[in-house]
Symmetry: C2
Subunit: 282 residues, 2 copies
Protein backbone atom coordinates (compact mmCIF):
# COMPACT_ATOMS: atom_id res chain seq x y z
CA UNK A 1 0.00 0.00 0.00
CA UNK A 2 1.55 3.34 -0.96
CA UNK A 3 2.29 5.83 1.81
CA UNK A 4 3.43 9.45 1.90
CA UNK A 5 7.03 8.34 2.44
CA UNK A 6 7.10 5.94 -0.51
CA UNK A 7 5.06 7.38 -3.36
CA UNK A 8 3.07 4.85 -5.36
CA UNK A 9 3.94 4.02 -8.96
CA UNK A 10 0.52 3.72 -10.57
CA UNK A 11 0.30 2.95 -14.25
CA UNK A 12 -2.15 5.54 -15.50
CA UNK A 13 -2.97 9.16 -14.69
CA UNK A 14 -6.49 7.99 -13.83
CA UNK A 15 -5.12 5.54 -11.25
CA UNK A 16 -2.85 8.23 -9.90
CA UNK A 17 -5.67 10.73 -9.47
CA UNK A 18 -7.72 8.05 -7.74
CA UNK A 19 -4.81 7.55 -5.30
CA UNK A 20 -4.91 11.29 -4.64
CA UNK A 21 -8.68 11.20 -4.18
CA UNK A 22 -8.36 8.27 -1.75
CA UNK A 23 -5.65 10.03 0.21
CA UNK A 24 -3.05 7.35 -0.53
CA UNK A 25 -0.90 9.86 -2.42
CA UNK A 26 -0.66 13.14 -0.50
CA UNK A 27 2.78 14.44 -1.30
CA UNK A 28 4.79 15.85 -4.22
CA UNK A 29 3.91 14.71 -7.73
CA UNK A 30 7.48 15.05 -9.07
CA UNK A 31 8.20 12.30 -11.63
CA UNK A 32 5.10 10.28 -10.83
CA UNK A 33 3.32 10.02 -14.19
CA UNK A 34 4.73 11.17 -17.57
CA UNK A 35 1.82 13.48 -18.29
CA UNK A 36 1.47 17.26 -18.09
CA UNK A 37 1.12 18.55 -14.54
CA UNK A 38 -0.72 21.73 -13.60
CA UNK A 39 -0.93 24.36 -10.93
CA UNK A 40 -4.49 25.06 -9.78
CA UNK A 41 -6.04 28.33 -8.76
CA UNK A 42 -9.80 28.73 -8.29
CA UNK A 43 -11.41 31.99 -7.30
CA UNK A 44 -14.75 33.83 -7.28
CA UNK A 45 -15.95 34.58 -10.81
CA UNK A 46 -15.75 38.35 -10.34
CA UNK A 47 -11.95 38.04 -10.33
CA UNK A 48 -11.73 35.65 -13.29
CA UNK A 49 -11.22 38.28 -15.98
CA UNK A 50 -8.48 40.07 -14.05
CA UNK A 51 -6.81 36.77 -13.26
CA UNK A 52 -6.76 35.78 -16.93
CA UNK A 53 -5.17 39.15 -17.68
CA UNK A 54 -2.61 38.58 -14.92
CA UNK A 55 -1.69 35.32 -16.64
CA UNK A 56 -1.48 37.01 -20.05
CA UNK A 57 0.81 39.72 -18.71
CA UNK A 58 3.02 37.29 -16.79
CA UNK A 59 3.08 34.23 -19.06
CA UNK A 60 6.40 32.82 -17.87
CA UNK A 61 5.15 32.64 -14.28
CA UNK A 62 1.51 31.91 -15.17
CA UNK A 63 1.16 30.04 -18.50
CA UNK A 64 -2.59 29.52 -18.66
CA UNK A 65 -3.64 26.10 -20.02
CA UNK A 66 -7.33 26.01 -19.21
CA UNK A 67 -10.04 27.83 -17.28
CA UNK A 68 -13.24 26.13 -16.16
CA UNK A 69 -16.81 27.32 -16.33
CA UNK A 70 -18.07 28.70 -13.01
CA UNK A 71 -18.91 25.94 -10.58
CA UNK A 72 -17.73 23.15 -12.86
CA UNK A 73 -14.51 21.61 -11.52
CA UNK A 74 -13.75 19.53 -14.60
CA UNK A 75 -11.38 19.87 -17.55
CA UNK A 76 -10.91 18.23 -20.94
CA UNK A 77 -7.24 17.86 -20.03
CA UNK A 78 -8.32 14.97 -17.79
CA UNK A 79 -11.79 13.64 -18.61
CA UNK A 80 -13.49 12.19 -15.54
CA UNK A 81 -11.27 14.07 -13.09
CA UNK A 82 -12.68 16.24 -10.33
CA UNK A 83 -10.54 19.26 -9.51
CA UNK A 84 -11.97 19.43 -5.98
CA UNK A 85 -10.72 15.99 -4.93
CA UNK A 86 -8.05 14.74 -7.33
CA UNK A 87 -5.01 16.71 -6.21
CA UNK A 88 -2.79 15.36 -3.41
CA UNK A 89 -3.27 18.39 -1.18
CA UNK A 90 -4.90 21.83 -1.34
CA UNK A 91 -4.48 25.27 0.17
CA UNK A 92 -7.62 27.27 0.95
CA UNK A 93 -7.39 31.04 1.40
CA UNK A 94 -10.09 33.34 2.76
CA UNK A 95 -9.70 37.10 2.28
CA UNK A 96 -6.02 36.50 1.50
CA UNK A 97 -5.31 34.45 4.65
CA UNK A 98 -4.36 30.78 4.51
CA UNK A 99 -7.12 28.80 6.26
CA UNK A 100 -5.36 25.43 5.96
CA UNK A 101 -1.72 25.65 7.17
CA UNK A 102 -1.29 21.87 6.85
CA UNK A 103 -3.15 21.58 3.55
CA UNK A 104 -6.41 19.73 3.07
CA UNK A 105 -7.23 16.59 1.09
CA UNK A 106 -10.40 17.90 -0.56
CA UNK A 107 -12.01 21.24 -1.34
CA UNK A 108 -15.49 19.98 -2.23
CA UNK A 109 -17.05 22.11 0.50
CA UNK A 110 -15.18 25.27 -0.59
CA UNK A 111 -15.62 25.18 -4.39
CA UNK A 112 -18.94 26.98 -4.87
CA UNK A 113 -21.09 27.41 -7.98
CA UNK A 114 -19.35 30.76 -8.39
CA UNK A 115 -15.77 29.44 -8.44
CA UNK A 116 -13.74 29.49 -11.67
CA UNK A 117 -10.71 27.19 -11.80
CA UNK A 118 -7.52 27.97 -13.70
CA UNK A 119 -4.95 25.35 -14.70
CA UNK A 120 -1.42 26.70 -15.18
CA UNK A 121 1.56 24.85 -16.61
CA UNK A 122 4.17 23.36 -14.28
CA UNK A 123 7.89 22.73 -14.63
CA UNK A 124 7.39 19.17 -13.38
CA UNK A 125 6.14 18.51 -16.92
CA UNK A 126 9.66 18.82 -18.35
CA UNK A 127 11.49 16.90 -15.63
CA UNK A 128 10.98 13.72 -17.67
CA UNK A 129 12.74 15.27 -20.66
CA UNK A 130 15.64 16.41 -18.47
CA UNK A 131 15.92 12.93 -16.96
CA UNK A 132 15.77 11.26 -20.37
CA UNK A 133 18.66 13.48 -21.46
CA UNK A 134 20.80 12.32 -18.54
CA UNK A 135 20.17 15.56 -16.65
CA UNK A 136 17.70 14.58 -13.90
CA UNK A 137 16.95 17.27 -11.34
CA UNK A 138 18.76 16.35 -8.10
CA UNK A 139 15.58 16.48 -6.02
CA UNK A 140 14.16 13.63 -8.14
CA UNK A 141 17.13 11.42 -7.22
CA UNK A 142 16.61 11.75 -3.47
CA UNK A 143 15.04 8.80 -1.61
CA UNK A 144 12.27 9.56 -1.05
CA UNK A 145 11.91 12.04 -3.90
CA UNK A 146 12.04 15.65 -2.68
CA UNK A 147 9.90 18.52 -3.85
CA UNK A 148 11.89 21.12 -5.80
CA UNK A 149 13.01 24.19 -3.79
CA UNK A 150 11.04 27.36 -4.54
CA UNK A 151 11.80 31.00 -3.71
CA UNK A 152 9.91 34.28 -3.68
CA UNK A 153 12.01 36.76 -5.65
CA UNK A 154 12.22 40.55 -5.46
CA UNK A 155 10.69 40.83 -8.94
CA UNK A 156 7.20 42.36 -8.94
CA UNK A 157 4.51 40.98 -11.25
CA UNK A 158 3.08 43.16 -14.00
CA UNK A 159 -0.13 44.35 -12.34
CA UNK A 160 -3.53 43.37 -13.76
CA UNK A 161 -6.84 44.62 -12.42
CA UNK A 162 -7.26 43.69 -8.76
CA UNK A 163 -3.93 41.83 -8.80
CA UNK A 164 -1.61 44.68 -7.88
CA UNK A 165 0.81 42.96 -5.52
CA UNK A 166 2.85 39.79 -5.26
CA UNK A 167 6.15 38.77 -6.78
CA UNK A 168 7.60 36.26 -9.18
CA UNK A 169 8.19 32.86 -7.54
CA UNK A 170 10.87 30.59 -9.05
CA UNK A 171 11.75 26.92 -8.78
CA UNK A 172 15.45 26.09 -8.48
CA UNK A 173 17.37 23.10 -9.80
CA UNK A 174 21.15 22.83 -9.44
CA UNK A 175 23.17 21.96 -12.54
CA UNK A 176 26.80 21.96 -13.52
CA UNK A 177 27.60 25.22 -15.22
CA UNK A 178 28.70 23.39 -18.37
CA UNK A 179 25.26 21.75 -18.62
CA UNK A 180 23.25 24.96 -18.36
CA UNK A 181 23.01 25.54 -22.12
CA UNK A 182 21.71 22.00 -22.69
CA UNK A 183 19.23 22.38 -19.85
CA UNK A 184 18.07 25.67 -21.39
CA UNK A 185 17.70 24.00 -24.79
CA UNK A 186 15.65 21.08 -23.48
CA UNK A 187 13.24 23.16 -21.41
CA UNK A 188 12.86 25.95 -24.01
CA UNK A 189 10.45 23.90 -26.09
CA UNK A 190 8.10 23.39 -23.12
CA UNK A 191 6.97 26.96 -23.43
CA UNK A 192 3.60 26.44 -21.71
CA UNK A 193 5.39 24.79 -18.78
CA UNK A 194 7.44 27.90 -17.92
CA UNK A 195 9.86 27.17 -20.78
CA UNK A 196 13.56 27.93 -20.44
CA UNK A 197 15.04 29.27 -17.20
CA UNK A 198 14.46 32.93 -16.33
CA UNK A 199 17.97 33.23 -14.88
CA UNK A 200 20.88 31.08 -13.65
CA UNK A 201 24.17 31.16 -11.77
CA UNK A 202 24.91 33.27 -8.71
CA UNK A 203 24.67 36.41 -10.77
CA UNK A 204 21.17 35.29 -11.76
CA UNK A 205 20.31 34.74 -8.08
CA UNK A 206 21.50 38.29 -7.36
CA UNK A 207 19.40 39.72 -10.18
CA UNK A 208 16.35 37.96 -8.75
CA UNK A 209 17.16 39.38 -5.30
CA UNK A 210 17.48 35.94 -3.66
CA UNK A 211 21.22 35.24 -3.48
CA UNK A 212 21.30 35.10 0.32
CA UNK A 213 18.24 32.86 0.62
CA UNK A 214 19.66 30.46 -1.96
CA UNK A 215 23.14 30.39 -0.40
CA UNK A 216 21.59 29.60 2.99
CA UNK A 217 19.03 27.15 1.61
CA UNK A 218 16.12 29.15 3.04
CA UNK A 219 13.32 27.94 0.76
CA UNK A 220 9.93 29.66 0.73
CA UNK A 221 8.19 26.55 -0.62
CA UNK A 222 9.23 22.95 -1.30
CA UNK A 223 12.37 21.32 0.10
CA UNK A 224 15.99 22.39 0.06
CA UNK A 225 18.45 20.47 -2.14
CA UNK A 226 22.19 21.20 -1.85
CA UNK A 227 24.12 23.00 -4.58
CA UNK A 228 27.54 21.34 -4.86
CA UNK A 229 29.83 24.23 -5.78
CA UNK A 230 32.90 21.97 -5.62
CA UNK A 231 31.38 19.90 -8.43
CA UNK A 232 30.77 23.05 -10.49
CA UNK A 233 27.05 23.27 -9.78
CA UNK A 234 25.15 26.54 -9.94
CA UNK A 235 21.48 27.32 -9.28
CA UNK A 236 19.13 27.46 -12.29
CA UNK A 237 15.76 29.22 -11.89
CA UNK A 238 12.47 28.68 -13.71
CA UNK A 239 9.12 30.44 -13.55
CA UNK A 240 6.78 28.82 -11.04
CA UNK A 241 3.01 28.50 -10.76
CA UNK A 242 3.07 29.26 -7.05
CA UNK A 243 3.30 32.88 -8.20
CA UNK A 244 -0.50 33.43 -8.40
CA UNK A 245 -0.96 32.14 -4.83
CA UNK A 246 1.36 34.90 -3.63
CA UNK A 247 -0.50 37.44 -5.78
CA UNK A 248 -3.80 36.32 -4.22
CA UNK A 249 -2.41 36.51 -0.69
CA UNK A 250 -0.93 39.97 -1.16
CA UNK A 251 -3.50 41.69 -3.39
CA UNK A 252 -6.39 41.80 -0.92
CA UNK A 253 -8.57 39.39 -2.90
CA UNK A 254 -11.82 38.83 -1.00
CA UNK A 255 -13.63 35.54 -0.55
CA UNK A 256 -12.42 31.96 -0.82
CA UNK A 257 -9.52 31.08 -3.13
CA UNK A 258 -8.46 27.47 -3.65
CA UNK A 259 -5.07 26.26 -4.80
CA UNK A 260 -2.79 23.23 -4.74
CA UNK A 261 -0.10 22.91 -2.06
CA UNK A 262 3.18 23.85 -3.81
CA UNK A 263 4.65 20.69 -5.38
CA UNK A 264 1.38 18.74 -5.12
CA UNK A 265 0.09 19.22 -8.65
CA UNK A 266 -2.90 18.21 -10.75
CA UNK A 267 -1.86 15.34 -13.05
CA UNK A 268 -3.58 15.49 -16.45
CA UNK A 269 -3.97 12.87 -19.19
CA UNK A 270 -1.93 14.89 -21.72
CA UNK A 271 1.38 13.14 -22.55
CA UNK A 272 4.34 15.45 -21.88
CA UNK A 273 5.56 14.97 -25.45
CA UNK A 274 2.50 16.85 -26.68
CA UNK A 275 3.70 19.97 -24.88
CA UNK A 276 7.02 20.10 -26.73
CA UNK A 277 6.75 22.92 -29.23
CA UNK A 278 9.15 22.30 -32.09
CA UNK A 279 9.01 25.98 -33.07
CA UNK A 280 10.73 26.69 -29.79
CA UNK A 281 13.68 24.38 -30.42
CA UNK A 282 16.83 26.20 -31.45
CA UNK B 1 7.90 74.77 -42.73
CA UNK B 2 7.97 72.47 -39.72
CA UNK B 3 11.16 72.27 -37.68
CA UNK B 4 12.34 70.03 -34.88
CA UNK B 5 11.27 72.63 -32.32
CA UNK B 6 7.73 72.98 -33.67
CA UNK B 7 6.46 69.60 -34.85
CA UNK B 8 4.27 69.66 -37.95
CA UNK B 9 0.56 68.77 -37.79
CA UNK B 10 0.06 66.78 -40.98
CA UNK B 11 -3.36 65.37 -41.70
CA UNK B 12 -2.62 61.77 -42.57
CA UNK B 13 -0.19 59.13 -41.37
CA UNK B 14 1.10 58.95 -44.96
CA UNK B 15 1.89 62.68 -44.91
CA UNK B 16 3.50 62.32 -41.53
CA UNK B 17 5.77 59.46 -42.65
CA UNK B 18 6.73 61.50 -45.69
CA UNK B 19 7.74 64.34 -43.36
CA UNK B 20 9.92 61.85 -41.47
CA UNK B 21 11.39 60.56 -44.75
CA UNK B 22 12.16 64.14 -45.86
CA UNK B 23 13.75 64.96 -42.54
CA UNK B 24 11.22 67.68 -41.72
CA UNK B 25 10.02 65.73 -38.67
CA UNK B 26 12.96 64.33 -36.72
CA UNK B 27 11.83 64.40 -33.11
CA UNK B 28 9.31 62.71 -30.81
CA UNK B 29 6.08 61.38 -32.32
CA UNK B 30 4.02 61.95 -29.15
CA UNK B 31 0.46 63.02 -30.04
CA UNK B 32 1.23 63.64 -33.71
CA UNK B 33 -1.25 61.37 -35.52
CA UNK B 34 -4.08 59.37 -33.90
CA UNK B 35 -2.89 56.04 -35.23
CA UNK B 36 -1.03 53.16 -33.60
CA UNK B 37 2.67 53.86 -33.07
CA UNK B 38 5.36 51.18 -32.98
CA UNK B 39 8.81 50.48 -31.68
CA UNK B 40 11.14 49.06 -34.34
CA UNK B 41 13.85 46.47 -33.93
CA UNK B 42 15.54 44.83 -36.93
CA UNK B 43 18.24 42.20 -36.60
CA UNK B 44 20.00 39.45 -38.53
CA UNK B 45 17.64 36.58 -39.34
CA UNK B 46 19.55 34.07 -37.23
CA UNK B 47 18.31 35.90 -34.13
CA UNK B 48 14.71 36.28 -35.30
CA UNK B 49 13.35 33.14 -33.63
CA UNK B 50 14.94 33.95 -30.28
CA UNK B 51 13.76 37.53 -30.51
CA UNK B 52 10.17 36.42 -31.13
CA UNK B 53 10.48 34.16 -28.08
CA UNK B 54 11.85 37.08 -26.04
CA UNK B 55 8.72 39.03 -26.99
CA UNK B 56 6.45 36.11 -26.13
CA UNK B 57 8.06 35.70 -22.72
CA UNK B 58 8.02 39.44 -21.96
CA UNK B 59 4.77 40.60 -23.57
CA UNK B 60 4.22 43.67 -21.39
CA UNK B 61 7.59 45.13 -22.40
CA UNK B 62 7.61 43.69 -25.93
CA UNK B 63 4.08 43.25 -27.34
CA UNK B 64 4.83 41.98 -30.85
CA UNK B 65 2.53 43.40 -33.55
CA UNK B 66 4.30 42.35 -36.73
CA UNK B 67 7.50 40.81 -38.02
CA UNK B 68 8.72 41.31 -41.59
CA UNK B 69 10.12 38.84 -44.04
CA UNK B 70 13.93 38.97 -44.26
CA UNK B 71 15.12 41.96 -46.27
CA UNK B 72 11.61 43.35 -46.79
CA UNK B 73 11.17 46.56 -44.77
CA UNK B 74 7.42 46.86 -45.32
CA UNK B 75 4.35 46.10 -43.27
CA UNK B 76 0.61 45.78 -43.85
CA UNK B 77 0.14 48.07 -40.84
CA UNK B 78 1.18 50.94 -43.14
CA UNK B 79 0.94 50.05 -46.85
CA UNK B 80 3.48 51.99 -48.89
CA UNK B 81 5.70 52.75 -45.92
CA UNK B 82 9.40 51.95 -45.90
CA UNK B 83 10.75 51.01 -42.48
CA UNK B 84 14.28 52.09 -43.45
CA UNK B 85 13.35 55.73 -44.09
CA UNK B 86 9.98 56.56 -42.54
CA UNK B 87 10.87 56.94 -38.88
CA UNK B 88 12.05 60.31 -37.52
CA UNK B 89 15.37 58.96 -36.29
CA UNK B 90 17.17 55.63 -35.94
CA UNK B 91 19.77 53.98 -33.74
CA UNK B 92 22.22 51.56 -35.37
CA UNK B 93 24.12 49.05 -33.24
CA UNK B 94 27.05 46.90 -34.31
CA UNK B 95 28.08 44.00 -32.09
CA UNK B 96 26.08 45.59 -29.27
CA UNK B 97 27.72 49.02 -29.54
CA UNK B 98 25.76 52.10 -30.63
CA UNK B 99 27.26 53.33 -33.93
CA UNK B 100 25.07 56.45 -34.13
CA UNK B 101 25.12 58.42 -30.85
CA UNK B 102 23.15 61.28 -32.43
CA UNK B 103 20.75 59.05 -34.33
CA UNK B 104 20.51 58.81 -38.09
CA UNK B 105 17.73 59.80 -40.50
CA UNK B 106 17.80 56.65 -42.62
CA UNK B 107 19.03 53.07 -42.33
CA UNK B 108 18.75 52.08 -46.00
CA UNK B 109 22.46 51.23 -46.13
CA UNK B 110 22.31 49.10 -42.96
CA UNK B 111 19.12 47.06 -43.57
CA UNK B 112 20.44 44.05 -45.52
CA UNK B 113 18.57 41.26 -47.28
CA UNK B 114 19.12 39.26 -44.10
CA UNK B 115 17.47 41.72 -41.70
CA UNK B 116 14.13 40.88 -40.09
CA UNK B 117 12.15 43.81 -38.66
CA UNK B 118 9.90 43.60 -35.62
CA UNK B 119 7.19 46.13 -34.80
CA UNK B 120 6.30 46.36 -31.13
CA UNK B 121 3.41 48.26 -29.55
CA UNK B 122 4.02 51.68 -27.98
CA UNK B 123 2.35 53.53 -25.12
CA UNK B 124 2.08 56.63 -27.34
CA UNK B 125 -0.86 54.78 -28.89
CA UNK B 126 -2.99 55.32 -25.78
CA UNK B 127 -2.02 58.92 -25.06
CA UNK B 128 -4.96 60.04 -27.23
CA UNK B 129 -7.38 58.08 -25.06
CA UNK B 130 -5.88 59.56 -21.89
CA UNK B 131 -6.13 63.07 -23.36
CA UNK B 132 -9.71 62.52 -24.51
CA UNK B 133 -10.60 61.50 -20.94
CA UNK B 134 -9.19 64.75 -19.57
CA UNK B 135 -6.03 63.03 -18.35
CA UNK B 136 -3.35 64.14 -20.85
CA UNK B 137 0.21 63.09 -19.98
CA UNK B 138 2.06 66.21 -18.76
CA UNK B 139 4.84 65.85 -21.33
CA UNK B 140 2.26 66.30 -24.09
CA UNK B 141 1.23 69.67 -22.62
CA UNK B 142 4.75 71.11 -22.72
CA UNK B 143 5.57 73.62 -25.49
CA UNK B 144 7.20 72.20 -27.47
CA UNK B 145 5.90 68.71 -26.64
CA UNK B 146 8.42 66.68 -24.64
CA UNK B 147 9.26 63.03 -25.06
CA UNK B 148 8.07 60.91 -22.13
CA UNK B 149 10.74 60.11 -19.48
CA UNK B 150 12.02 56.52 -19.58
CA UNK B 151 14.02 54.54 -17.02
CA UNK B 152 15.98 51.30 -16.98
CA UNK B 153 14.69 49.30 -14.00
CA UNK B 154 16.38 46.67 -11.88
CA UNK B 155 13.97 44.02 -13.21
CA UNK B 156 15.64 41.40 -15.42
CA UNK B 157 13.88 40.13 -18.53
CA UNK B 158 12.86 36.48 -18.78
CA UNK B 159 15.73 35.11 -20.85
CA UNK B 160 15.12 33.68 -24.33
CA UNK B 161 17.78 32.05 -26.47
CA UNK B 162 20.65 34.46 -27.13
CA UNK B 163 18.85 37.22 -25.23
CA UNK B 164 20.15 36.52 -21.74
CA UNK B 165 20.73 40.05 -20.43
CA UNK B 166 19.03 43.40 -20.28
CA UNK B 167 16.31 44.77 -18.04
CA UNK B 168 12.76 46.03 -18.20
CA UNK B 169 12.58 49.68 -19.35
CA UNK B 170 9.54 51.72 -18.29
CA UNK B 171 7.98 54.99 -19.40
CA UNK B 172 6.78 57.31 -16.63
CA UNK B 173 3.83 59.70 -16.57
CA UNK B 174 2.91 61.67 -13.46
CA UNK B 175 -0.71 61.58 -12.30
CA UNK B 176 -2.62 62.61 -9.24
CA UNK B 177 -2.96 59.62 -6.96
CA UNK B 178 -6.76 59.86 -7.10
CA UNK B 179 -6.64 59.51 -10.91
CA UNK B 180 -4.48 56.38 -10.98
CA UNK B 181 -7.40 53.92 -11.05
CA UNK B 182 -8.98 55.75 -14.01
CA UNK B 183 -5.63 55.87 -15.83
CA UNK B 184 -5.24 52.14 -15.20
CA UNK B 185 -8.74 51.49 -16.52
CA UNK B 186 -8.23 53.50 -19.71
CA UNK B 187 -4.88 51.97 -20.62
CA UNK B 188 -5.82 48.41 -19.64
CA UNK B 189 -7.74 47.86 -22.86
CA UNK B 190 -4.71 48.78 -25.00
CA UNK B 191 -3.14 45.48 -24.14
CA UNK B 192 -0.89 45.33 -27.24
CA UNK B 193 0.39 48.83 -26.41
CA UNK B 194 1.82 47.76 -23.02
CA UNK B 195 -1.66 47.87 -21.44
CA UNK B 196 -2.15 49.03 -17.90
CA UNK B 197 0.76 50.30 -15.77
CA UNK B 198 3.20 47.75 -14.34
CA UNK B 199 3.54 49.75 -11.11
CA UNK B 200 2.81 53.21 -9.67
CA UNK B 201 3.52 55.48 -6.72
CA UNK B 202 6.80 55.79 -4.87
CA UNK B 203 6.42 52.27 -3.56
CA UNK B 204 6.13 51.13 -7.19
CA UNK B 205 9.31 53.08 -8.03
CA UNK B 206 11.06 51.28 -5.16
CA UNK B 207 9.87 47.87 -6.36
CA UNK B 208 11.27 48.65 -9.81
CA UNK B 209 14.58 49.69 -8.23
CA UNK B 210 14.45 53.23 -9.64
CA UNK B 211 13.20 55.42 -6.78
CA UNK B 212 16.39 57.49 -6.59
CA UNK B 213 16.61 58.06 -10.36
CA UNK B 214 12.96 59.13 -10.49
CA UNK B 215 13.24 61.45 -7.46
CA UNK B 216 16.29 63.10 -9.05
CA UNK B 217 14.84 63.18 -12.57
CA UNK B 218 17.76 61.16 -13.96
CA UNK B 219 16.13 59.75 -17.09
CA UNK B 220 17.83 57.01 -19.11
CA UNK B 221 15.89 57.94 -22.27
CA UNK B 222 13.49 60.73 -23.24
CA UNK B 223 13.07 63.99 -21.32
CA UNK B 224 12.42 64.72 -17.66
CA UNK B 225 9.01 66.02 -16.65
CA UNK B 226 8.46 67.20 -13.04
CA UNK B 227 6.29 65.26 -10.59
CA UNK B 228 4.34 67.79 -8.51
CA UNK B 229 4.06 66.13 -5.13
CA UNK B 230 2.35 69.18 -3.62
CA UNK B 231 -0.47 68.67 -6.13
CA UNK B 232 -0.74 65.00 -5.14
CA UNK B 233 1.07 63.64 -8.19
CA UNK B 234 2.86 60.29 -8.15
CA UNK B 235 4.83 58.51 -10.88
CA UNK B 236 3.00 55.87 -12.95
CA UNK B 237 5.08 53.34 -14.92
CA UNK B 238 4.26 51.44 -18.11
CA UNK B 239 6.15 48.79 -20.07
CA UNK B 240 8.31 50.32 -22.80
CA UNK B 241 9.54 49.12 -26.18
CA UNK B 242 13.02 50.47 -25.57
CA UNK B 243 13.47 47.27 -23.57
CA UNK B 244 14.67 45.16 -26.56
CA UNK B 245 17.33 47.75 -27.44
CA UNK B 246 18.82 47.27 -23.99
CA UNK B 247 18.59 43.49 -24.39
CA UNK B 248 20.43 43.75 -27.71
CA UNK B 249 23.13 46.00 -26.26
CA UNK B 250 23.76 43.77 -23.24
CA UNK B 251 23.31 40.26 -24.67
CA UNK B 252 26.34 40.20 -26.98
CA UNK B 253 24.28 40.09 -30.18
CA UNK B 254 26.63 40.12 -33.18
CA UNK B 255 26.18 42.07 -36.37
CA UNK B 256 24.09 45.13 -37.18
CA UNK B 257 20.89 45.82 -35.25
CA UNK B 258 18.60 48.70 -36.22
CA UNK B 259 16.11 50.47 -33.99
CA UNK B 260 14.22 53.72 -33.58
CA UNK B 261 15.58 56.46 -31.30
CA UNK B 262 13.50 56.25 -28.09
CA UNK B 263 10.40 58.43 -28.51
CA UNK B 264 10.76 58.65 -32.31
CA UNK B 265 8.32 55.94 -33.33
CA UNK B 266 6.97 54.36 -36.50
CA UNK B 267 3.50 55.78 -37.19
CA UNK B 268 1.14 53.21 -38.75
CA UNK B 269 -2.19 53.61 -40.56
CA UNK B 270 -4.11 51.67 -37.89
CA UNK B 271 -6.53 53.93 -35.98
CA UNK B 272 -5.87 53.79 -32.24
CA UNK B 273 -9.51 52.84 -31.59
CA UNK B 274 -8.86 49.52 -33.31
CA UNK B 275 -6.37 48.60 -30.60
CA UNK B 276 -8.89 48.96 -27.78
CA UNK B 277 -9.77 45.46 -26.67
CA UNK B 278 -13.21 45.47 -25.07
CA UNK B 279 -12.47 42.15 -23.36
CA UNK B 280 -9.85 44.01 -21.36
CA UNK B 281 -12.20 46.65 -20.02
CA UNK B 282 -13.26 46.05 -16.46
Amino acid sequence: MPSSSSPPQPLTPQDFRLACRNGTHNTTTTLTIPTVQCNLLALPSRYASSFAQLCGRNPVSCPLLYSTLPGNPTTPLAPGANLTTDLPKYNVYKDGKLLTPDGTASVEEHWTRDHVGFLIGCSFSFEWALSAAGLPPKNTLCVPVKCVPMFRTGIPLSSAGEFTAGCVVVSMRAYKERDVEEVRRITRSFRRQHGEPVAWGWNGARMLGIEEKVRKGLVDFGEWVEIDGDAGEVPVFWGCGVTPQVAVMESGIEGVVISHVPGCMFVTDVPVEEEEDPSHKL
